[in-house]
Amino acid sequence: MSEPLIRVEELTKHYYLPKTKLLEKRNAVRAVDGISFDIAEGEIFGLVGESGCGKSTTGQMIVQLVKETHGGIYYRDRQINALPANEMKALRRELQIVFQDPSSSLNPKKTIGWLLEEPLVIHGVADRAKRREIVLKTLEQVGLGADYLKRYPHELSGGQKQRVGIAAALVLKPKFIVIDEAVSALDVSVQSQILNLLKELRDKLRLTYLFISHDLNVVQYLSDRVGVMYLGKLVEIFDVSTSAVGPLHPYTKALFSAIPDVKGTRERVLLKGDVPNPIHPPDGCAFHPRCPLAVDRCSQERPGLQKVAPRHEVSCHLFEEGDFPS
């Protein structure tokens, strides 16, 4: 692994809510609140968190489907979130995305062949035979045959649709793919097929993924490093394979202990209450009202990400520099 392929600095997204009263101050939801991380070439970076934590917004900002409020996004050390339209369009060949629900991410009125060919048309692959060749090769890469070209999305099963969704992202030969909950809607037996496929494609095509999911079993299985988000902030980043201590942040611990697993060996930490309203997040550490280990300081001071071990960062007052033997 070398220099980061993707780097995100202080990335922030505020959504403004419509005013309910005329003279009211406009309320903002801090969907993503100043997060920074990087992804090395060839790495699978998992992003987990509960609904509304901002993980999908982060993914969509990186491929510039959602415009950030402020912050920087860098691809190979080149800032991409302020590029003129034509340069961004060219860059889209390298940065792709796969969506959660395969039924809504494929246009129901178009054939699979048309859908896979379209990105090539957009990016000026003029030669029809050449386009066809690329489409067929991509279909083959995701385990489908030429007989799918004339079919419509509704004729396919969920797993086949998701294969087409992956193929549509691959057709432009990208370097980096955001995979947004792409296996969440699938049954277990199909999910394992898609996970194997994603892994195989990463190795074969030297791809880099940002793998977004709420399913921690899936994320831990597939990712090299995992970032955990809570209320728009990254609370922990750790390496799944080398981290001897495992997750440290109290939220991550609770989250991981809540995974229903078939072995039932985990010790359970049951959190109280719901995720707070992101319009009025708690002062200090956003997690402190639910945190079993919170001290006074947590309600006043906001912690930042601190390196506690190689490839392991935590945002928690309990693990400040010096307090924790690394």
Binding site: E50, S189, A258, V275
Partner: protein
């Protein structure tokens, strides 16, 4: 041993599409004892939700029971008598759904909806019903209940709403609670809370539970026994620990092997080739034969029986005869 509460005997349910009949549930037989927590697990299209709808008498118009019967607390519910179904629902069987939002009336305060339930089914006054509703809301772990009583559904979070649904379902002290994927739409930390609540309610009220989920991990959290369904058939039925540690049916085994986990990092996941056959493409023989790595000649022609082994572990597979592995 406790008495049998729900008994389903050789139930067949079929959909009629374009004048043709397609069997969706086949030879379904199982029992739920009083106070027991039974899980039904399977992938989409296996018939697990249809099973719960059959028990509730809520089958869609295009589906009908073609054979067999359902008895509840010793009383047989016949398919024809809608009235009978109606009086049974709510009083003896209650149900909670994946999406509580669609099950609640958006224009009525939630607390009032819970009280209505008691008013309809029990001989109580309005005041008593409200008191019961408040007590029930406290029991399911809600705080600020006086205030919450008057809130409308859209003001509640998913977890709170599911607690409300549980309160509404249990207010008439039903003998059986059917929970159809009640935590699938919730976040894991909230899911853990709801699962703990369901276990607790089962312990304190003695309501038996039929818990439907696609997630074996969730089933393990809540249930004592699990029924594995595939393409409309029960393929395996045994205590949860037993199934997880020693799955007998090749489908159950494959399902467990296909689950991703941190321990399986670096290895390819086990996959089941193909997909669950859709309703219109189901033929004779074992329903799993086409995808089964251990299928042999007879599997493709003769549907195996659901045999009970000596340990009470039921499995529908030709590899097992009287609980022993042959071949």
């Amino acid at each position: 041993m406790a008495n049998t509460l729900l008994a389903i005997d050789e139930l067949d349910v079929a959909f009629t599409i374009g004048g043709k009949q397609y069997p969706a549930l086949r030879q379904l037989s199982f029992e739920v004892r009083e106070k027991e927590r039974v899980g039904i697990v399977g992938e989409s299209g296996c018939g697990k939700s249809l099973t719960s709808l059959s028990v509730m008498g809520l089958l869609p118009e295009s589906a009908a029971i073609t054979r067999g019967q359902i008895s509840l607390a010793g009383k047989t519910l016949s398919a024809g008598l809608r009235e009978e179904w109606h009086s049974t629902r709510g009083r003896q069987v209650a149900m909670i759904f994946q999406d509580p939002m669609t099950a609640l009336n958006p224009l009525m305060p939630v607390g009032k909806q819970i009280a209505e339930m008691a008013l309809t089914h029990l001989a109580v006054t309005r005041k008593e019903a409200k008191q019961m509703a408040l007590e029930m809301m406290a029991k399911v772990g809600l705080s600020r209940i006086e205030q919450l009583y008057g809130e409308y559904p859209h003001r509640l979070s998913g977890g709170m709403m599911q607690r409300m649904m549980i309160a509404m379902a249990l207010i008439c002290q039903p003998k059986l609670l059917i929970a159809d994927e009640p935590t699938t739409a919730l976040d894991v930390t909230i899911q853990a809370q709801i699962l703990a609540l369901l276990r607790e309610m089962n312990r304190s009220t003695g309501t038996a539970m039929l818990f439907i989920s696609h997630d074996l991990g969730v089933i393990r959290e809540v249930c004592e026994r699990v029924i594995v369904m595939y393409a409309g058939f029960i393929v395996e039925d045994a205590p949860v620990q037993d199934i997880l540690e020693n799955p007998k049916h090749p489908y159950t085994a494959a399902l467990l092997q296909a689950l991703p986990s941190v321990e399986k990092r670096g290895q390819a996941l086990y996959t089941i080739p193909g997909r669950v056959p859709p309703l219109t493409e189901r033929g004779g023989g074992c329903p799993f034969a086409g995808r089964c790595p251990r299928a042999f000649g007879i599997c493709h022609t003769i549907t195996p029986e659901l045999d009970t082994g000596m340990d009470g572990h039921r499995v529908r597979c030709h590899l097992y005869v009287e609980g022993r592995l042959c071949g």
